[in-house]
């Protein structure tokens, strides 16, 4: 991140290269249920970012000795597709991908009621199809929605977005060029329901004042994003409602697509799809 003054990233009127104001999010859309096999999934598009989140679990953990006696383990796997960036990314997982996987996993662990599923794992796969700055925050935002889609009980959704500095000015939600040419980046993961910060990183050079302003603008942005997350989950609820109006016997072979009634999108969905955290012998043999 170089504070390269030669590029004018924001004009006198406070308008950025892509036409946004300083505290404006990029266009965001969130679609639920995009991966049929997963227990829950979401696709987020934010600027040119395209990211898929899929949740599998709670399910048995292999090798077993890694299981936690009193709660579920949340494992995240953030991966960039080779073609998601300008220069082809090597398919081998990078140290960056491992670090991001860890901070996302930590953040989600703070809101999931993991103690409900001792000795299991909840696996969250994040595949970046196109990267445009802020993939870690968009991934966390999508992951949180995918967990809700999977019916995993949570204390609240996490909305995640970065603030940053361009030409020494605090702005929300940096896109690719701003990320590269700007002088600071502050990714935030925030749970509006709880008013708690669960992901926070920074690189660049910030005065304490700039940091405080950035933090505030990021929190505001996260709150805006949260509304979009809720809408996505509500939309699904509406869709299911519409479907349920026409009564129809669920197909026996496809237990997965049986309508999941999500009365309120976020908090403590009563029963997750996988009711029995300890899979039966049959399941186990299938998984091997």
């Amino acid at each position: 991140m170089a504070g390269d003054g030669t590029v004018k990233l924001i004009d006198e009127k406070g308008i950025r290269l892509d036409g946004r104001k300083a505290d404006e999010l990029r266009p965001v859309s969130i679609k639920i249920g995009v991966i049929k096999n997963a227990n829950g999934s979401a696709e987020i598009r934010m600027g040119k970012n395209i990211i898929i989140a899929a949740v599998y679990g709670p399910r048995e953990l292999h090798p077993k000795h890694r299981a936690l006696a009193d709660r579920a383990l949340i494992q995240c796997f953030y991966r960039m597709s080779t073609f998601s960036v300008n220069d082809r990314k090597s398919p081998a997982p990078s140290r960056r991908e491992k670090e991001i996987s860890m901070v996302i996993s930590n953040s989600l662990s703070s809101v999931v009621l993991t103690e409900k599923y001792p000795r299991t794992t909840i696996d969250v796969y994040l595949q970046v199809l196109q990267a445009d700055g802020g993939t870690r925050t968009a991934s966390l935002t999508a992951a949180s929605v995918a967990l809700a889609d999977a019916g995993i009980p949570m204390k609240g959704l996490i909305a995640s977005v970065a603030a940053g500095l361009i030409n020494d000015q605090v702005v929300l939600d940096l896109f690719d060029i701003e990320d590269q040419k700007g002088s600071g980046d502050l990714p935030l993961g925030y749970c509006p329901v709880l008013d708690e910060i669960s992901l926070l990183q920074l690189d660049g050079v910030f005065t304490v004042k700039q940091f405080e302003d950035s933090l505030n603008i990021a929190i505001k942005g996260a709150k805006d994003l949260y509304e979009i997350q809720r809408d996505a989950l509500k939309q699904k609820y509406t869709d299911i409602r519409a479907e349920v109006e026409v009564p129809e016997k669920p197909k026996a072979e496809e237990p997965k697509v049986e309508p999941k009634v999500v009365p309120k999108p976020v908090l403590k969905v009563e029963k997750p799809k996988t009711e029995e955290p300890k899979p039966s012998e049959d399941d186990k043999r299938e998984v091997e």
Partner: protein
Amino acid sequence: MGDKYIISEIEKDHILSLLEQKKRIDGRTFDGFRDIKIETNVVEKAEGSAIVTIGDTKIIVGVKAVLGTPFPDTPESGVITTGAELSPIASPYFESGPPSEAAIELARVTDRTIRESHCVDLSKLCVVPEKHVWILFIDFYVLNHDGNLFDVAALGAMAALATTKIPKVKVLEDGSVEKSEEKEQIKIEHYPVAVTCYKIDKYNVYDPNFKEDRVSDSRITIGFDEEDRIVALQKGYQGTYKPAEIMEIVRESLNVSKALRKELMKSLS
């Protein structure tokens, strides 16, 4: 798969008893395909890209074009290299880690369909012989696995390739090369598609869903070009075929290939 997943005998019996009555679990004919959807140019940052869905199987393919040096024994040819990831995002049966045998087979069979059909003239990817050629990395990610990966992968690879645009290149005086902003569509010489016939007991079906795929005894994937020539073939799983069966499947699959190519061409027009 056969080996890897144990399916209840009951389910297998159910599928078989339907097949005996000429029926499939979702009501299709033996050679009936599920809905096919091909979207191209889905990832701007890739030089070419496509998402193909057949039923609930979904694969994304991206093409990255990188300038590199040619192999010493083919100094005037560009390079195509194909990789597949069967990420656990796509199925509860996939595991994290380095490419599995199944991923390697999927990548290599698709690679052969592309390569042997000569759909891209590699000599046209040469910029400066011995020094600079285009390397096309075709990478695909299975996003949801509901059977029939080979056909979907080949459609995706062709759709991505056929929409690939690579920068024009200027050769400077000192022999180095400079990419221009301007891009140019690569020329496609042939339009191969892959068709896989799955054998369950003695029945041959096409485009299986995951359950049908899983109970299959064997499969044959055949790549056909638009002149009805065979450019690749792979028998998979552990089952076997009588010679006459093979010829029957070749003829049947050739018919299917025409329908698949029609979908491909529609998406490219």
